[in-house]
């Protein structure tokens, strides 16, 4: 019931907004559907807490601690982003960057995007997971090109083709997995793609095929995670699309793609004869961290800057999951949560700041603190949080990851520390003059939505100081599910 | 039975010598019909050869002995090749002498001598033709070898008669690898025998010619041998094609007069059809620029390798 509501809400939203998306009250309607989805997610979570794992809809949907926490996070950020988009999109319209028709497209696709992510998270069928991931790409392609500028079209094309190729590889990986599972689960083929069944027989699956499948899946979904050498689409798509889309791409889509990788990793790592997935993820993660932190230098575009920061953090998370074990997994899950909250909060402030300055170039954005103290402080605090300053949650998770790395991968620790230092210098050096310094910006016709920013940052702060026991319980359960190696 | 084999062997070589010019004549005749021209006599190549034998040879002053020797070498290799290729029967005494790979080597020898002789006198056309001939050869030979490899892999031997026998006696089926090889082989045949998309056998003194350019300095009996050699080459290629792709009708196993009685008409029929087919290809396709020839041969190579890969992958 809760699940039906959870998936029905954005579906209904997509249809309704497809008709009404251009109306004056459409942004509010969007927020209402977002809040509905969030409430449904909360109800679903409550049910999972009470009754444990759920298997619904002829085994096609499966809810466990791991995905229910991501479902809640997704629904929450989806909701707050719709709150942020309310004034943001109005300003964009008044600046003449988008038309009413495109606003309708935006609203409808936004809901559809939420739906595909929720389906990807909750489905038990690895084939449907693929379908939902592809649909997530498709629903956002036209959003990235919403402004129809040359740059946005290029970004959209890159996004489409790179993710299309990536996702095709993931399909091949899925086929291989099906092939391996079918040998064990029988040739009817109905159950062989269901994760719960796969999980039950994971030690019997053929190691060679499994290894091949995992490599394809890692490369395929890894493209969507934005791991380095496959990250090319990510900065462009983030920089050229409307800011709410940057926020959900960074905060949610990357998580969901990583979730897909982890689902397969947990099958893989339980099979002692198969290739260990850990080292693969560790090296891809480390590469992304190092690459992204050096790319942070010489950025001109503020959204691009934070897009690279997302690559860096996804690298950290992949690295931590690659190490495996309860502590690293716990830390990585915590990092997923706080990164998603902080990064979307940053994009919210960045969106408003860029609107005020009339440009996304960092050199044009100056003196936010005098113009709008809340936005200025929001950006400052958000940047400090994402850079891993105590007492924010990012500090806690990065600290845990680093200490685990010292024990498990001592060689990687200095590299990580250096990369984090470089990232710190790069981002802080750019943000500081934007927040302080002389202003040149204008007032906006609509008051910025600051509630989402500070809610996110407050949660991140709380998570840095104290992880509530039920949340910790979740994380531990999820960490256990993901497993080691 | 040794005698029967010996007889077949001699018969094959004699038949090749006799039939090669006729085959060439038949191709020319078909082409003429297809182009709505009055067809020349099928015996025309014979008359040419006879006429040339009766003339006095003129040889360039600076020609080396190699220039004189080349026609005999070329003609000789083609006759030997005709002896190896199982056009009528598969049990031949000469078979032990050379397998299919050596056969490719024989063709290469002939090519080297023709080219060397063409460069020997030092005329511009000769050198040009030789260079082009080598370019065609270095692309066509690997393709031909690949074609032979596919057939060898299927029949597990490199001896051409054994391959032919294996293919003739196995159960009928679809062999994509052989189909690809056949396409590749046809392309190689066209290029190697200076047929139309690559070269035009009917014209002289054209800047695009390959084969004819090399023969410009020859006259009389030397030219006759060269042309007869070229006709033999075409005949040989056709027979290799029959052996690999349409081996039915060839006398397999123990030889007897009965086998030959089937084999000779079968060969005649296949030759007639192949000649007509060749004429059709030559009529419908346009001569390519010389620079495109590598592309043409690359596709031949591609087909051959695809055939090989398909065989390895599908086992068919």
């Amino acid at each position: 019931m809760e699940l039906l509501l959870l998936l029905g809400m954005p579906a209904a939203g997509a249809v309704t907004l497809g008709f009404l998306g251009a109306r004056r009250y459409a942004p509010e309607l969007n927020a209402v559907f977002g809040s509905g989805t969030f409430l449904a997610a909360c109800a679903l979570t409550a049910r999972v807490i009470r009754h444990g794992n759920l298997l619904l809809g002829r085994e096609q949907f499966f809810i466990d601690p791991f995905n229910v926490f991501l479902v809640t996070l997704t629904a929450f950020v989806g909701f707050t982003t719709s709150l942020f988009a309310r004034p943001y999109m109005r300003v964009e319209m008044e600046h003449g960057r988008i038309t009413a028709g495109r606003l309708r497209l935006y609203h409808s696709m936004y809901q559809l995007f939420t739906l595909t992510m929720l389906v990807a998270l909750t489905t038990n069928n690895m084939g449907l997971l693929w379908v939902a991931m592809e649909a997530a790409t498709l629903s956002t392609v036209l959003l990235v090109t919403l402004y129809r500028t040359a740059a946005s079209l290029e970004a959209g094309w890159k996004y489409f083709i790179l993710c299309g190729v990536g996702i095709a590889q993931a399909l091949f990986g899925t086929i291989l997995l099906y092939f391996a599972a079918e040998k064990v689960l029988g040739a009817e083929g109905v159950t062989a793609l269901l994760w719960t069944h796969l999980d039950a027989v994971k030690t019997q699956l053929e190691p060679a095929v499994l290894a091949l499948a995992f490599v394809f899946l890692l490369v395929g979904y890894g493209t969507k995670v934005g791991l380095a050498p496959l990250h090319n689409w990510l900065p462009d798509a983030h920089a050229e699309g409307p800011t709410p889309i940057s926020a959900v791409l960074s905060g949610l889509l990357l998580n969901v793609a990583l979730f897909a990788v982890l689902r397969f990793k947990s099958i893989m790592s339980a099979n002692p004869a198969a290739l260990a997935p850990g080292p693969l993820m560790v090296s891809l993660g480390l590469l992304s961290v190092v690459f992204a932190s050096f790319m942070l230098y010489r950025r001109q575009d503020i959204k691009r800057l934070f897009a690279y920061s997302s690559i860096e953090h996804m690298g950290i998370i992949a690295f931590a999951f690659g190490m495996g074990g309860p502590v690293a997994n716990f830390a990585a899950l915590l990092h997923m949560t706080v990164h998603s909250l902080t990064k979307s909060a940053i994009f919210f402030t960045v969106g408003h700041a860029a609107q005020k300055a009339g440009s996304q170039l960092m050199d044009d954005i100056r003196g936010l603190i005098t113009l709008s103290p809340t936005i200025g402080w929001g950006l400052m605090v958000g940047s400090l949080a994402i850079l891993g300053m105590p007492p924010f949650g990012v500090f806690a998770s990065e600290f845990l990851i680093l200490t685990t790395a010292m024990k498990q991968q001592p060689w990687a620790t200095p590299i990580l520390v250096v990369a984090l230092g470089v990232a710190f210098a790069a981002i802080f050096g750019r943000v500081q003059p934007m927040v302080f310094g002389e202003t040149s910006a204008r007032r906006l016709p609509h008051a910025p939505a600051l509630l989402p920013v500070f809610t996110h940052l407050a949660i991140v702060l709380v998570l840095g100081l104290y992880v509530p026991p039920y949340l910790a319980q979740w994380y531990r359960a999820a960490a256990h599910l993901i497993g080691g190696r | 039975m040794r005698l029967a084999e010996l007889v077949t062997q001699v018969l094959e070589i004699v038949a090749a010598l006799v039939a090669a010019p006729i085959f060439l004549g038949w191709v020319n005749q078909c082409r003429a019909w297809l182009q709505n021209r009055r067809a020349p006599s099928i015996w025309l190549p014979y008359r040419n050869i006879r006429k040339l034998f009766h003339k006095d040879a003129v040889i360039a002053e600076n020609a080396s002995p190699l220039f004189r020797a080349a026609p005999y070498v070329v003609f000789g290799t083609m006759v030997v090749a005709a002896g190896i290729i199982p056009s009528m029967g598969t049990r031949l005494p000469l078979v032990a002498a050379a397998d299919a790979i050596a056969l490719v080597g024989l063709f290469a020898t002939a090519r080297v001598f023709v080219s060397l002789a063409a460069m020997d006198v030092g005329t511009a056309f000769g050198t040009l033709g030789a260079r082009r001939e080598m370019m065609v050869g270095f692309l066509a030979e690997p393709a031909l070898l690949m074609v032979i490899f596919v057939a060898s892999l299927i029949s597990a031997t490199t001896a051409l008669p054994a391959i032919s026998e294996h293919l003739a006696t196995q159960t009928l089926g679809l062999y994509p690898s052989l189909a690809f090889s056949a396409i590749a082989f046809t392309l190689v045949l066209l290029a190697e025998n200076a047929r139309i998309p690559v070269d035009n056998p009917a014209t002289h003194l054209e800047l695009t010619m390959i084969h004819e350019a090399m023969l410009l300095e020859y006259s009389a009996r030397h030219l006759a041998l060269m042309e007869w050699g070229a006709a033999l080459k075409l005949f040989n290629y056709a027979c290799i094609g029959f052996a690999l792709f349409v081996p039915w009708g060839v006398a397999t196993g123990e030889l007897g007069p009965l086998g030959l009685l089937v084999a000779i008409p079968a060969l005649a029929l296949k030759l007639a059809l192949a000649g007509a087919g060749l004429a059709v290809i030559e009529t419908v396709s346009a001569k390519m620029r010389v620079m495109r020839a590598p592309e043409f041969l690359a596709s031949a190579f591609l087909f051959a390798v695809l055939g090989l890969l398909v065989h390895v992958m599908l086992g068919a």
Partner: protein, 222 residues
């Protein structure tokens, strides 16, 4: 090999032709022909599915074959032809690598694909397992085509050809995926093409050409 039945031989012939088609696409410069080749590929895929359905008696494969014909052999090529006419993109004259070089690379890729498919082929119990290598080759060749082409239209054809290869792989390794997944994939492909259609018009509107040359301004050092 002499003992294989005729329908299996036909399937093998289909596989071989699919491989040949991949190379034909790789060498083709005319966009219209490229789309026609894609349609033929879809048709062949449907024939192979039909043969397999008949051979194994799995009913969902009949359905799958019908879907393939409708979508991949008919609708998508029709859509692409329409787009080509409307957008007037007929030639992809400047591949990044010359044709012979691409072909040679293609051959190497087939060898590589064969090696890659070897472990799967050995484990598969289907009668069509030998075609897995071909399916992997088709996928990788389509990938090569996407890399070496400049025009958006050729890249899309490459993308669809890759999808076809994936289907063929799924079929020859496991007699097809569960129906719900296949439907989902087909739906995604369909939507992807519709999105692309819209997208092409946007590009066209902006640049007056579908050449990806124009889409190279977003460098890393912006």
């Amino acid at each position: 090999m002499a003992h294989t039945t005729f329908d299996l031989q036909l399937l093998n012939a289909c596989a071989a032709l699919l491989l040949l088609l991949s190379f034909a696409m790789l060498s083709q410069r005319r966009v219209v022909t490229l789309v026609n080749l894609l349609a033929v590929q879809g048709g062949l895929l449907a024939v192979a599915t039909l043969l397999l359905a008949w051979r194994t008696g799995q009913h969902h494969l009949y359905f799958s074959a019908a879907l393939t014909v409708a979508l991949k052999a008919a609708f998508l090529p029709w859509l692409l032809h329409r787009l080509i006419r409307r957008l007037e993109v007929y030639w992809d004259t400047e591949p990044l690598l010359n044709i012979s070089g691409t072909m040679l690379m293609g051959l190497l890729i087939v060898v590589f694909a064969f090696g890659l498919a070897q472990p799967i082929t050995q484990l598969a119990s289907t009668t069509t397992r030998s075609a897995i290598g071909i399916a992997v080759s088709v996928i990788l060749l389509a990938f090569l085509m996407m890399i070496t082409r400049r025009k958006a239209m050729s890249q899309v054809v490459g993308f669809l050809s890759m999808e076809n290869g994936l289907f063929f792989g799924a079929m020859s390794a496991t007699y097809g995926m569960p129906m719900v997944v296949e439907l989902g994939v087909a739906l995604d492909v369909l939507v992807a093409m519709l999105v692309l259609g819209v997208f092409f018009f946007q590009i066209r509107e902006q640049f007056d050409s579908l050449d990806l040359h124009h889409l190279e301004s977003l460098k890393e050092h912006d």
